[in-house]
Symmetry: C2
Subunit: 221 residues, 2 copies
DNA sequence: CATCAACTGACAGGTTTATGTCAGTTGATG
DNA sequence: CATCAACTGACATAAACCTGTCAGTTGATG
């Protein structure tokens, strides 16, 4: 499992869109450069849009994101998720069909609920293993919408278990790994949690309002 | 890779809906019963609807399949695939949304092309690894629709490479593993190919017609 | 209560996979 | 042509995983 974690970490490092040398990444993650080169192979083979240039470094080349759609929020989520998966994982024909289908449904349903659909961004990378930790997702999604605080029990990669209260802000999908961006009241800072590492998630009666410095807009990865 | 193959084989064995003892499966696949029990754990953890009863045996408990939809064939395929994945892999809310979305889209688009959509059946089991062998799918799908013969180069699990001409009939999705059911002119019998093990697939100018005994309806797994 | 077959835990051996080291090559750039 | 950093192949070692064996337990059924 450690290797998968590291692949995930590499993507997090590359997310800033800047250049990164294999050596720097290697030092950060405490592995050899050879291992990073091997990992890059794996990422590329998994469809992660990363490119290396000799003498320069590595950089993410594109960040896929689908526009919001005119559906109920739940349907929109299902459609976004399903089409994002199809558009990434399947063959070119299906990819085109998935995109045209989103357009078509978008045009056909004349609702005005473009809504808070930008809680969802997709950057679908089809690696990593099966459906873990999906159990908490209804709770998490509901809490984001209701601006409800959450009490999380979380196991970090180093197997440390912590309990904390957070303000959930945003979820992202990284190819079968979901992350929950939030303001953590324990650390008094922004924290990104991997949904599959969340042990328990309990919605608290306590609501929160956006405070300057604690909104999603203030978050800089 | 051998373990994944065996898991896939177990599903194939259980597909007939009958009872199977761990011991029988173990003998068929030439492993110990202990290994079968471990495999069953893995399958259950992966979402395969199999149940064991003490003193009785193992049996598949349900076979998920989504109804055809009123869209263009390509869109229908994309929607089917996407919603099947969402309905299986994601949480209950999203599952319900995926189903209601298929209904809604079905109602909204008044086309008459229910068509040959029953080429698709879904039994989505989210195990196995990433997107391999999707490259041939446009060719395969097009050939099924056009009733066009295919020339396949295929590597069996035993690493034997064969080249053969087939009549493609039907595709199924087993959680990131696609299978192609076809009439094989080399063996003169029905054969099920794993799409990820297909090396090359070349559509031949030769068309075929349904002959008694060689149609999908005649195929008994 | 005997039987059947699913199920569990522990351990040992074997195989596969992951990693580091080293000694290169390649392609772009100044 | 020197430099930079991506890249490759080979090999040894270490870690992880898979499997079989064994000695049980459990739950349903006749």
């Amino acid at each position: 499992m450690r290797r998968t974690d590291r692949l995930f970490d590499i993507i997090q490092i590359l997310r800033d869109g800047k250049l990164h040398r294999a050596q720097d990444i290697a030092e950060t993650l405490e592995v050899s450069t050879r291992t990073i080169y091997r990992d890059m192979d794996t990422l590329v083979a998994s469809g992660v849009p990363v490119e290396g240039e000799r003498g320069v470094g590595y950089m993410i080349t594109e960040a896929i994101s689908l526009p919001p759609l005119n559906l109920t929020v739940a349907e929109l989520e299902a459609l976004n998720l399903g089409m994002a998966i199809v558009a990434e994982a399947a063959d070119p024909d299906l990819k085109a069909a998935a995109l045209s289908l989103t357009d078509k449904v978008d045009a056909v349903l004349p609702t005005k609920t473009i809504a808070d659909a930008d809680q969802w961004k997709f950057a679908v990378y089809p690696f990593a293993d099966a459906a873990r930790g999906f159990a908490h997702m209804p709770t998490l999604r509901a809490a984001i919408r209701a601006k409800q605080k959450l009490r999380l029990t979380y196991t970090s990669k180093e197997a440390r278990v912590t309990t904390r209260t957070i303000r959930p802000l945003h979820m992202e999908y990284w190819g079968r790994i979901w992350t929950l961006t939030s303001w953590c009241e324990l650390r008094n800072d922004f924290r990104v949690f991997r949904v599959d590492l969340i042990q328990t998630a309990e919605a608290l009666p306590e609501l929160f309002v956006d405070e300057p410095g604690k909104t999603l807009a203030d978050y800089v990865p």
